[in-house]
Every structure is written in structure tokens, then in C-alpha cells.
């Protein structure tokens, strides 16, 4: 982790050093599945855009009744 310019408010409210560290670790843990899913979604969209005709799979609501 590199240095971060801390805003002046850190002088007003002591955020707790341990809380800051813990928060960063916990947030990374919580966000990992979300970020992974987003990464996969972006990848799938990217693949879909490169398919012939540049068409994406229409959603169920877009389907015309037979």
C-alpha cells in the first residue's frame, strides 16, 4: 500500500488506525465476489459484441410472441 493524502477531517474525527486497516481488508473481502461477477459480466458482454452481427441476446421481454 502506498501513501495516501489524508483529508483534513482525519484530524477532527479519529478514525482509529486499526479500523481503517480492518475496513480496507474487509471491504476487499466483501467486494471480491461482486467484482468477480462484474468482471465476468463485462467479459461476456465483450464477447457478445464481437459476435457476427454485433448482436446481444435479447431479454425475455424483447421476444415477440409467436
Amino acid at each position: 500500500m502506498g501513501d495516501v493524502a489524508l483529508p483534513h477531517v482525519f484530524a477532527y474525527l479519529d478514525p482509529g488506525s486499526a479500523s481503517l486497516l480492518f475496513q480496507a481488508i474487509l471491504a476487499t473481502t466483501i467486494a471480491a465476489p461482486i467484482l468477480f461477477i462484474n468482471y465476468i459480466k463485462r467479459g461476456l458482454r465483450s464477447i457478445a459484441r464481437r459476435l457476427p452481427g454485433n448482436r446481444e441476446e435479447p431479454g425475455p421481454g424483447d421476444r415477440t410472441p409467436l
Binding site: V4, Y12, S17, L20, L21, Q23, A27
Partner: protein, 469 residues
């Protein structure tokens, strides 16, 4: 901006000194807030951002207006604002479980909205929230700052101590743990919270992480200041953290039942909650005695689930409904939410031990009597509980009423009433003066009787009284 010397009518709020960004003062009796030059850039960015208008439109932030430089408290003012007036300032240790949870969710929702627009809350104090009726609103306009890239949320620990820890204790241990906020005005220390929480809370992800592991991290890295200052957090990760906090808070539940007073209305007096429809009886007399509210304030002492608060609100009063029973107050709060009413705020309060003045020099949080703003009080089916249940002499009861309001509607409950008989059963009757004559003598020390009316079908009597000049 250059202001003149403070005029005699400007009084600085003794509770407003923690944040150097500005302070609150009363000018001619109106709440003003002076913004310091050190916060001017953040304030300008906030007011120019769509965030400020969005939060006000959503009812999440208290509206305000700009005041001219002549309204400044002193020369060190970058700007002055006048927030909308609030009828009453309440504190987190007076809120029901649902109110504290609503305040917590408001704080997180504001933080999420702020993050989307490049801002963040620099603090997450429960004292930054007030209630208009049953709706929480953020009152600290100076809490917003432009978020520096990759900065963690400086208010994370404060949020856990002010909101999550007391809510978890109330939900998982005992709802009365909310009163711990009275002895810990800076929030419940996490090591204390996890010692008090049941062990099974270690198995619930949100509580296990934000409280148990968080407390352990505090113990393990208490002296590691430099490491914390190097922590980085991307926007996506921070939003995930706040979202997880939100789902943890949302998942905390408490069922307000089982206490004597929460079930009083339904079990003991089936007609209690339908009081308003019983015109001509107690409800009808109360409605006549309190008269038109016209925006005045009524304190309903011992409000239970709010049957008579609703009558006062129906007459146009703004109502503060106090009850010692957290479950009764919570049920009242939920019924108001369900009805969409915005004229009543239920609060948990023991009249025999009201909130004292707290904090630095005992001036940060005002005691209940300092905040007395009632035009009229309702004390229905209350006096016997205080006089017999708590041994408070009747003269002292009316002394307190006289300090609270110039007018009252008070119910006399005689000895032959089943409730009084139940209270006296199993104990020595030392209450020789508990007679209607004794009640009248105590009352007459400070009040004069406007009207005395018997309640139909009951030995109980209602008194409409006004404080002597």
C-alpha cells in the same frame, strides 16, 4: 465574509465544538450555523453539487437557507446558514429500536448517495440525526467532504459504535441495552459490545466481521497509527462495504412484545387502542379538554401505544409521546409508520429518571427538563404508577408537571381501581395521602382546576389544570 462583534442576542450552542468546520449558535432565538474558512471549499462544492438538492428533495437532509454576512457570529465566517427549525431535539438513547435503526439506515443511504457523486460523510454520529415525526433527517450540513481518491471511510468505526453495536445489543441481548448510549455518548466501545453480545452472533457474517473481528483488530493494532493512515480503498470496495453494513443493519430485528406495557392495550383494556372512537367517554373528554392544537406541542407522558397521542395529533398538536416501556414505544412507532403520520414522535423515557444533562461540562446533551417545550401535557393513567409504583409524593409529581408545561390533562385513578389494587397487593399500604382530596391539595400548590370530569362507567376522574401565574 466579515461579521460584526456578536450581538447580545447571539449565543453559541454549548454542544457545537467538536468539528472545526463550523458551529451552531442562536441568533435572536433562531438556529444559525457559521461555516469556517477551513471548510469553505468543501461547502461550496457540496452546495454546487446535485447531491445537496437531491438529499433535501428526498427528505434526508434538513433544508436550510443562506444568511447574509450580518448574521455571522464573528469575523471568522466563510458563510452562514439557517437550517429549518426542529420542534424538539431528541437523543439516540431516547429512541426506540426502530428509530435507531432508521437513523442508521439513513446515514448509510446518505453515504451511498454521497459516494456516487464524489463525496463522503466525514462522520457518522447518531447525534447528527433528528426525527421529524417518525422520519429521520440528517441535520449536520457540514458532514460532507469531497472524497479523496482511494480513501477509506473515516466514520466507519464511529458508525459501528454509534449504531451497529447498540442495535445488535438491543436485538440480540436486550432492548434496554440502548440505554448504554447514555453512559457512552461517544458510542458503545466495540470491546464492550462483543463481550455483551451472545456467542451465536459470531456465526452471523455481518456481526462477526463489523463487530467481533473489528474489535479484535482494534485490540491487535491499537498502536499502529502509521499503518492505518496508509490504508487504501477503491470506490467499488467502499460501496460494497457500506452495502454490507446496510444489509447487516436491515437484518437486525426485534419483536416488541411480551412486556407488561406493550401488551397492556390489548390484554388489559381491549378498548384502549380504540379510544378515539369512544366519544363521550375518556377519549371524548380528553379531546374536549386539550382543545385546538394549532401547531402547539403536546407531551403525552406514559403514552403506551399512542391512543391518546393520536387524539392530540388529531386536534392539531405536534406530539412527543413518552413511555418507559421500549416495546410499547416501538409499537407506537410502527403504527405511526404504517399510518403514514408525521405529527408524533415516540420516545423511550422513564419519567422517574428522565435523561440528564450529559457530556462535556454537562452541556453537550441537554436533560429532558432543559428541553421542555410542551404547551400541554397529557398524564393519563400515569400518576398512580409514579406515586405508588415509584413512591413519588403527589406534590412532587405536580411540581414536575409545572416545570414541563403551563397546562395539563391529568387522570385521577382511585384506590378502588383494579390497577391500583393490583399495585398495592402484596405490599404494605404506606400511601395514606393517596386520596382524591390529597390529589387535589397537591395539584392546588401549583395549578388551578379548569374542569373536573368523571369518566363514564369508571371511578376515574379527569382534571384539566392550568399552572398558576
Amino acid at each position: 465574509m466579515r461579521g460584526a462583534d456578536p450581538p447580545p442576542s447571539s449565543v453559541r450552542d454549548p454542544a457545537s465544538w467538536r468539528d472545526p468546520s463550523g458551529f451552531v449558535y442562536l441568533r435572536n432565538g433562531v438556529v444559525h450555523r457559521q461555516i469556517a474558512p477551513s471548510y469553505a471549499a468543501d461547502w461550496e462544492a457540496f452546495t454546487r453539487s446535485p447531491l445537496s438538492a437531491l438529499l433535501v428533495d428526498q427528505g434526508r437532509l434538513l433544508p436550510w437557507s443562506e444568511a447574509g454576512p450580518e448574521a455571522a457570529f464573528d469575523a471568522d465566517a466563510a458563510a452562514v446558514i439557517v437550517p429549518d427549525a426542529l420542534n424538539f431535539i431528541s437523543y439516540p438513547y431516547e429512541w426506540t429500536f426502530g428509530e435507531l435503526r432508521a437513523a442508521a439506515l439513513l446515514t448509510l443511504d446518505v453515504e451511498l448517495a454521497a459516494l456516487e457523486l464524489g463525496f463522503s460523510l466525514k462522520d457518522a454520529s447518531a447525534y447528527n440525526v433528528q426525527f421529524r415525526g417518525v422520519r429521520p433527517v440528517l441535520i449536520d450540513h457540514l458532514s460532507f467532504e469531497r472524497r479523496a481518491t482511494e480513501t477509506p471511510w473515516p466514520a466507519y468505526r464511529q458508525f459501528c459504535e454509534h449504531f451497529l453495536a447498540p442495535l445488535a445489543l438491543m436485538a440480540k441481548r436486550d432492548v434496554r441495552c440502548g440505554l448504554l448510549l447514555r453512559s457512552h455518548p461517544d458510542g458503545i466501545p466495540l470491546d464492550l459490545a462483543v463481550d455483551l453480545l451472545p456467542g451465536r452472533t459470531r456465526l452471523q457474517f455481518g456481526l462477526a466481521t463489523h463487530l467481533h473481528l473489528h474489535a479484535r483488530a482494534q485490540r491487535g493494532h491499537a498502536d499502529d497509527g502509521a499503518a492505518g493512515s496508509r490504508a487504501k480503498l477503491s470506490l467499488e470496495r467502499l460501496k460494497a462495504l457500506i452495502g454490507n453494513l446496510r444489509s447487516t443493519v436491515s437484518g437486525l430485528a426485534w419483536e416488541p412484545s411480551g412486556t407488561e406495557w406493550a401488551d397492556y392495550a390489548e390484554l388489559e383494556h381491549p378498548s384502549y387502542d380504540r379510544a378515539a372512537s369512544s366519544a363521550g367517554t375518556k377519549a371524548g373528554v380528553v379531546e374536549r379538554m386539550i382543545g385546538e392544537g394549532a401547531g402547539r406541542t403536546c407531551w403525552d407522558l406514559g403514552a403506551n401505544t399512542g391512543a391518546y397521542s393520536r387524539i392530540a395529533a388529531g386536534r392539531g398538536y405536534r406530539v412527543l409521546a413518552f413511555d418507559v416501556d421500549a416495546a410499547a414505544a416501538e409499537r407506537h412507532y410502527r403504527s405511526l409508520l404504517a399510518d403514514g403520520r408525521a405529527d408524533t414522535t415516540p420516545l423511550v423515557m422513564d419519567l422517574a429518571d428522565p435523561s440528564p444533562s450529559l457530556g462535556w461540562a454537562e452541556r453537550e446533551r441537554s436533560g429532558l427538563l432543559e428541553r421542555a417545550n410542551a404547551d400541554v401535557i397529557l398524564a393519563l393513567a400515569l400518576v398512580h404508577h409514579v406515586a405508588i409504583g415509584r413512591n413519588v409524593p403527589l406534590s412532587m409529581v405536580f411540581e414536575l408537571f409545572a416545570r414541563l408545561a403551563p397546562e395539563a390533562v391529568v387522570e385521577w385513578v382511585p384506590r378502588e381501581d383494579p390497577m391500583v389494587r393490583r399495585m398495592l397487593a402484596g405490599r404494605v399500604d404506606i400511601f395514606d395521602h393517596y386520596t382524591e382530596a390529597g390529589f387535589g391539595d397537591a395539584l392546588a400548590e401549583r395549578f388551578e382546576v379548569v374542569e373536573r370530569a368523571s369518566i363514564a362507567g369508571s371511578a376515574r376522574v379527569l382534571y384539566h389544570i392550568k399552572r398558576r401565574p
